[in-house]
């Protein structure tokens, strides 16, 4: 991707889209522009005034005049210094605002996407977009446009001052510029290629180190020290050679710049000296040109830098906008339906679902994960879903929370189609308890409330007491304020589960969705969890992917899933009596818990 952007130069439409992020700050951009232009004018003004001073005051031995001119010059210098400070800071300020806007917008966009989006993209890639790709635009958005214009005008002002002083001498001085421009761009191109190679070698070296430090035990156990040392030396040497190649270009570039500048100086001395003899040019003018010749190179170098920055930013911009232009979020309804009384009735009616978004809804033989699944859970009742891995149990949960939209059928809560409800309303009333408790960094409290400020300490405390989680939380050295990622802080499996129950309980949903943990815990913990679950499920409709005997035994209804279809349904007693799939599952999977 980067090579593509490298070769095609600057895409103006893409650039326009980047620059559009500066629009909210156009007043500040304008101010930055004014300061950069003023500084660009003041910079060549100083040598001009020095020339005037030499030719008028110094040659005429006007001491007071000299003092006055020097005073003006110092004022100019101070003004230029001040302006360039303001400008440098202001451009960064604008750039950082725009970067902030872009980053937060991109983040919100990513977060809004449905799980379908996350299924197909590695998280690492998304992180790169939000962090380093956005960062790559910062140069363009901050210094970029303003600085390019500033440097460009600086060139023009310097040329203008030179021509006004003496147009023939100006032409002579500028005659070396094409060499300079050519040398600069040649150098930049070579260095860019060399740098690309260097970066590759650095990455190679780093990944070798990363891998071998992580797998050092293996290297040592298998006695590969000598061989790996040999390979490392090889990679290290390639890395060294790549750097030595860039040294060559730098070693060549700086003397080149100096040489061209000296050529300009030599020409000024020779041609300027001759003109001076014939009275065309004063000594002051000569001295001014000596200074201009030096100043002329800086903007050229900066411009070539900026050009490269622009090019590399394009690659990042393309990826960012590509992401912004992809929208796989769950569509929110325009006319949300009322959910008048939240009671908690759940209905699945002829639900067909596939993770493949392009599946043909009418094709019954396609790769369906769920095939014609229907069931109803009455308010306050509990449903246990059992079945083997891959039977479609988790999918049912995902669909109820509308992490995905179904292709056929309807899912209703209290009679309302869930696609007619705003997502936030639906999810507000459905509490999810996952078997792998995902702990965010932060305190125990943060993990329970998920930083929901509406939940006060008393609510949390009451819930923790009710669920029996207070005992272990109080034992933590900082209680609810304990950081869960702190070193040495390890929560047992049972404790982590209690935390996720607590998380659900404080959010007080009408419908509870449980993905029970498979891993066994000791009897004591099991009892605590059992009691907690009973408390949690009281007065709520619940759907559980059951791994516990007690869950299936106490469920009002059990759904036996097999290969995406409902095979059997009924209560524990009914299903045991009917001697089908459930009975065997029970014997093999749950009966043992009874024995224990």
């Amino acid at each position: 991707m980067s090579s593509k952007a490298d070769t095609k130069g600057i895409d103006t439409r893409l650039l326009g889209r980047i620059v559009s992020y500066l629009m909210p700050y156009k007043g500040w951009v304008f101010l930055a522009f004014i300061t950069v232009m003023t500084a660009a004018y003041l910079d060549p003004l100083v040598p001009k005034l020095v020339q005037v001073t030499i030719d008028r005051e110094i040659v005429n031995r006007d001491m007071d005049g000299l003092r006055r001119m020097i005073g003006i010059l110092f004022a100019l210098l101070a003004a230029e210094g001040f302006l360039s400070f303001v400008n440098a800071y202001l451009t960064q300020w604008i750039g950082q605002q725009a970067i902030f806007d872009l980053r937060t917008k991109l983040y919100r966009h990513v977060q809004r996407q449905s799980l379908r989006f996350f299924d197909s993209r590695p998280i690492g890639q998304l992180i790169t977009r939000v962090t380093s790709d956005v960062e790559s635009l910062s140069q363009v958005l901050s210094a970029g446009v303003v600085t390019i214009l500033g440097d460009f005008f600086k060139l023009i002002f310097i040329a203008w001052f030179m021509f006004v002083l003496d147009w023939r001498l100006a032409l002579v001085t500028i005659s070396v510029m094409p060499i300079m421009i050519y040398a600069t761009f040649w150098f930049k191109r070579r260095v860019r290629d060399a740098y690309r190679d260097t970066r590759k070698q650095v990455a190679r070296l780093n990944s070798f180190l990363q891998e071998h430090v992580m797998g050092m035990r293996i290297v040592q156990l298998f006695g590969r020290e000598d061989e790996e040392m040999r390979r490392f030396t090889g990679i290290n040497d390639d890395h060294q050679q790549a750097h030595i190649r860039t040294i060559f270009y730098f070693a060549l570039f700086w003397p080149m710049v100096d040489l061209v500048a000296s050529a300009a100086l030599g020409l000024i001395i020779w041609y300027g000296g001759l003109s001076a003899m014939q009275g065309g040019v004063t000594i002051g003018v000569l001295i001014a040109f000596i200074q201009y010749a030096r100043r002329f190179f800086e903007p050229i170098r900066n411009l070539s830098d900026q050009f490269n920055t622009l090019q590399s930013a394009m690659a990042g911009a393309e990826r960012i906008f590509g992401l912004l232009d992809t929208d796989m979020s769950i569509p929110e309804t325009d006319e949300p339906a009322e959910w008048p009384r939240v009671e908690g009735r759940i209905e699945f009616e002829g639900v067909w679902f596939s993770y493949d978004p392009d599946v043909d809804p009418t094709d019954d033989t396609a790769a369906w994960i769920l095939k014609d699944v229907s069931f109803t859970v009455q308010p306050g009742h509990s449903l246990a879903i059992v079945g083997a891995t891959g039977a479609g149990k988790t999918t049912i949960i995902n669909l109820l929370l509308r992490f995905y939209d179904i292709q056929r059928g309807q899912i209703r809560v209290d009679g309302v189609d869930i696609t007619h409800l705003p997502l936030s309303v639906l999810r507000h009333h459905v509490g999810l308890v996952l078997q792998d408790v995902f702990l965010f960094s932060g305190t125990v409290r943060d993990n329970v409330t998920l930083r929901n400020g509406d939940l006060d300490d008393e609510t949390i405390r009451r819930a923790a007491d009710a669920i029996g989680a207070s005992t272990f939380i109080d034992r933590l050295s900082k209680g609810f304020d304990q950081d869960v990622r702190e070193r040495g802080m390890t929560l047992s499996h049972g404790q982590r589960q209690l935390l996720s129950f607590l998380r659900a309980l404080v959010h007080d949903p009408k419908i509870l969705v449980l993905d029970e943990a498979t891993s066994s815990v000791d009897t004591e913990t099991e009892e605590v969890i059992q009691r907690a679950l009973t408390t949690l499920m009281k007065g709520r409709t619940s759907i559980a992917i059951a791994h516990r005997l007690s869950t299936v035994q106490h469920a009002d209804q059990i759904l036996v899933m097999h290969r995406g279809q409902v095979r059997e349904r009924g209560t524990h007693q009914q299903l045991i009596a009917s001697d089908g799939l459930y009975r065997r599952l029970y014997e093999l999977q749950y009966k043992e818990q009874e024995a224990a």
Binding site: Q97, V202, G273, I283, L450
Partner: protein, 599 residues
């Protein structure tokens, strides 16, 4: 001893580059210092030519005088060009020697560091995070390199330029020189402070960048929870706060970076103006010429960078010292289990393993990981170890290849204390399959042959067959040459585990250790692999750690560990009879197998 003293040996090693390099730095500086003198000569010659020209105007000599001026000025111009050529040539050579030498030293340092890392034992890696060690071998070495190369180069050049320029300037006019120099110390000091603040603030910015990244990482990893609890908005607000903090720190950095240009513009500009002011006054009294003013203006320009370099170099040295201290920590670390090569006098290992009252406690723990462990595994027999997570199984098997050493008691191989065997002899005799599979980003073949360098293709295939991996590999498009890891295909957990087993098997080891190495393969595959292993029974000592009864039931002896102690030992039949931990495990897994059979 100053941390950077360690580098002296390297300077000596590359003296053939450093000495000519420093001489080139001197030569380059001298050439560039002569340029302003030529400019002064040229400018001062102009009024003389004008006077002569006017005197001879209208006479026959007019054209002769003009030609003389033409030639003289052309010579001045050419001399300037030649001087610059000379200076450029030497500056080119200077970089090509000194900076290249710094890269050589970097290369040596990094090799030395990696070599040291390979020699250090397991306990060192428990104390140091991977990321930390990577930083040391990359950016810390880079900081040191900048001190070695650029810092020394700049210092030399700066010294020569400043000293030469100053002597010439003082010789011309001490008074003007003193005045011109006034802003210079300010320049050096400002550069030093700005550079240091830039470093401090970029480090702070970098920290916030990591924090921002981990925030995104976490939110996206837990996206299901966030969505289920409708926390998107509050998470987005939290992300805004991180972004905003990042912006604030960027701007703090921008504030100091914005100071660069004003510092240079005003201080260098001030020097130039002082030259014009004081120099102008001096020309009025005739103490100096106008040409001297031009000369001084160029001197000021020439001295700017060297003076600023003083400020840079000081920060470079500070950073390099800090980095070198971190590097020295690694260089000075001693391996707790030092490498000893295999010698021809060492007898071959038969494979008998004996633990006598072995105890071990991890550094940061109170309770013992292994407590009074004793057993004897005759050469060629099989020992199985079962027990809960955290019961000490892995710690126990890590004693055998000496990843760890016992603190009390003794571990013996063939009746001799393991610490009396050369480390290489012990490790060569062992094929180890660790619990966490670690493969390198290389081909499948290379990963298997990692266990046995110079293994023939047939041997790699045989090892893959024994690990029941051959069929999978044949299915890969590039077969054994398929890359695994980031740059290649992602192997499934079971495939990885089997590759790791093949890597151990290709060694044809006297002692094979399988630390829960079959957890990610299904029961059928496990049976196949165990069947292959069984064909070597009698010739190979096997230590097998597992959660599955099916994997351990044929072992000659089974020990059950709990909290670092052996709570049961015997054969499968004996242990089932005892109705203890092992029997319960056995019962449970029988049921599980039936469930799997059902589906």
């Amino acid at each position: 001893m100053h941390p950077l003293r360690r580098l002296n040996t390297y300077y000596w090693r590359y003296r053939r580059l450093f000495i000519p390099g420093l001489l080139c730095a001197v030569a380059s500086a001298v050439f560039s210092i002569i340029v302003p003198m030529v400019v002064r000569q040229a400018i001062d010659s102009v009024p003389r030519f004008v006077a002569t020209y006017r005197a001879f105007q209208g006479t026959q000599l007019e054209s002769f005088v003009y030609a003389d001026a033409f030639a003289t000025l052309a010579v001045f111009g050419t001399i300037i060009l030649l001087l610059s050529l000379g200076s450029g040539l030497f500056s080119f050579l200077m970089r090509q020697t000194i900076v290249v030498a710094s890269r050589h030293i970097e290369f040596d340092l990094r090799n030395q560091l990696y070599g040291k890392l390979q020699a250090l034992s397991h306990d060192f890696y428990l104390k140091h995070a991977t990321g930390d060690l990577i930083t040391r071998s990359t950016s810390d070495i880079e900081h040191v390199r900048r001190y070695i190369g650029p810092a020394i180069m700049y210092t030399t050049r700066a010294l020569v330029v400043i000293l030469t320029a100053l002597s010439v300037m003082f010789w011309i006019s001490p008074k003007l020189t003193w005045y011109t120099l006034i802003p210079m110390p300010f320049l050096a000091v400002s550069v030093f402070f700005v550079a240091r603040m830039v470093h401090v603030r970029s480090d702070e910015l970098q920290q916030q960048y990591s924090s921002l990244t981990s925030r995104v990482q976490e939110a996206l990893s837990g996206i299901r929870v966030l969505k289920a609890y409708v926390r998107e908005e509050s998470e987005a607000v939290a992300f805004d706060a991180e972004s905003s903090d990042y912006r604030a720190r960027s701007l703090k950095l921008a504030m100091v970076e914005a100071a660069w240009r004003p510092v240079f513009v005003t201080l260098v500009g001030a020097s130039t103006l002082i030259v014009v002011w004081v120099g102008g006054s001096l020309t009025m009294t005739g103490e100096i010429t106008i040409g001297n003013i031009a000369e001084y203006i160029i001197y000021v320009a020439l001295m700017t960078w060297p003076v600023a370099a003083v400020g840079f170099v000081i920060t470079m040295i500070q950073r390099a010292s800090a980095s070198m201290i971190r590097l020295n920590e690694v260089f000075d670390a001693q391996p707790s289990i030092p490498f000893e090569p295999h010698t021809e006098y060492t007898p071959a290992i038969e494979g008998r393993i004996t633990f006598r009252n072995a105890c071990f406690r991890h550094a940061d723990r109170e309770e013992k990981a292994l407590d009074d462990i004793s057993f004897d595994v005759p050469a060629g027999s099989t020992l199985a170890i079962v027990g809960r997570t955290g019961s000490g199984k892995t710690t126990l098997v890590e004693m055998i290849p000496r990843l760890l050493d016992v603190q009390e008691g003794v571990v013996e191989i063939d009746g001799k204390d393991i610490r009396e065997w050369p480390l290489e002899t012990v490790r060569t005799a062992i094929g180890y399959v660790p619990q966490d599979v670690f493969l390198f980003s290389d081909t499948v073949a290379a990963n298997i042959a990692f266990g046995q360098m110079e293994a023939a293709v047939a041997e790699v295939e045989e090892a893959a067959r024994e690990a029941d991996l051959l069929e999978n590999i044949v299915d890969f498009r590039e077969g054994f040459e398929t890359m695994v890891g980031e740059r290649g295909i992602t192997l499934s957990g079971g495939q990885k585990q089997r590759t790791s087993i093949a890597r151990a098997l290709i060694r044809r080891p006297r002692i094979l250790i399988l630390d829960d190495a079959l957890s990610a393969v299904d029961v059928n595959t496990e049976r196949t692999i165990l069947g292959h292993l069984r064909s070597h029974f009698g010739q190979r000592t096997v230590i097998i750690v597992s959660h599955r009864v099916s994997a351990v039931q044929d072992a000659d002896q089974i020990i059950v560990l709990d909290e670092g102690r052996i709570i049961e030992r015997g054969t499968h039949a004996e242990l089932v009879e005892r109705k203890g931990f092992y029997a319960a495990l056995h019962h449970k897994q029988q049921l599980e197998q039936e469930v799997e059979a059902f589906h």
